[in-house]
């Protein structure tokens, strides 16, 4: 239980810090880089190294590569849904999560990470 409380606090602080930094930066396209900052990864990997060791964290980041490629596809899909399909932001960002899941799990399956 304590581990999850620590996870919650560390994750909240790191994500808030990155998002505040992104909010202060101009132009907006540059600030957008912080929308894909590895904030959750920084919080999680620190705890993973402490509790499970470096090998476990290395395995997690190897799989994270597939998630990050899927995130790039996700960003492109959200951009097109907003500019061409003219969907509302909440609908576009939630709908594109399906694309993220398909691409991320697809890449992991191709790389043999699901076995």
């Amino acid at each position: 239980m304590t581990e999850y409380v620590v996870r919650f606090l560390v994750g909240g602080i790191v994500v808030s810090a990155f998002s505040m930094l992104g909010g202060m930066l101009r132009p907006k396209s540059f600030a957008g880089l912080f929308g894909a900052a590895p904030s959750v990864a920084l919080a999680t990997l620190g705890i993973a190294v402490y509790t499970h060791g470096a090998g476990y964290a290395a395995r997690q980041t190897w799989a994270m590569t597939a998630g990050a490629v899927a995130l790039a596809v996700y960003g492109g899909v959200v951009c097109h849904l907003l500019m061409r399909a003219r969907l509302r932001v909440a609908s576009a960002t939630l709908l594109a999560v399906v694309v993220w899941l398909v691409v991320a799990f697809g890449l992991l399956a191709v790389a043999g990470g699901l076995t």
């Binding site: 808030s16 998002s19 396209s29 880089l33 994270m64 995130l71 790039a72 951009c79 990470g113």
Partner: protein
């Protein structure tokens, strides 16, 4: 190319509940990743280190900011909000490439030295993201200049004039 600037005063535009949402969402995403890792293993848990949950919340808040700003000026602001969120998502694509660099660097260096892995991976994220952003800006400027040069002869030549002489 417009310069990168830091504007601390823009933090005042945000409301307390918006910062709370980000804090809770960040904490929840980290707890969720931990739960997935412990139930399904390191590989599937690792995928969720790049989950766009935070992006969903921040894009929605950006839209709200723009709509609020435009409504204060008596305008609708909905389209403006969607465009601002689209710009943010275009930036997130470049940030995601930086995240790939983060993950690769971390996985290659963590078994050697943990502090080095964190520093090297963070630097790799920043370097790839910023380089991508600069390259994109440069390409857009070049494209805009080319378009301007192509249009200019036609704009300068009046009706009935020989435009081919200007191209």
């Amino acid at each position: 190319m417009s310069p990168i600037s830091l504007s601390p005063s823009s933090l005042k535009e945000g409301r307390l509940y918006e910062y709370l949402i980000r804090f809770v969402l960040g904490g929840a995403a980290t707890v969720f990743t931990g739960l997935v890792s412990s139930r399904c293993g390191a590989s599937i848990g690792g995928l969720f280190l790049a989950l766009p949950a935070i992006f969903c919340a921040s894009a929605t808040l950006i839209e709200k900011h723009e709509i609020r700003r435009k409504r204060e000026a008596g305008l609708d602001g909905r389209r403006r909000g969607e465009e601002a969120a689209a710009l943010e998502s275009a930036g997130a694509v470049l940030g995601a490439f930086g995240m790939v660099a983060f993950a690769v660097t971390f996985s290659l260096t963590v078994e050697g030295s943990v502090p080095t892995a964190f520093i090297a991976a963070s630097l790799a994220w920043a370097a790839v993201s910023i380089a991508g952003w600069c390259l994109r800006r440069k390409l857009r400027t070049v494209r805009r200049l080319r378009g301007f040069r192509r249009r200019r002869p036609a704009e300068i030549a009046g009706p009935g004039e020989d435009r081919s002489a200007l191209t």
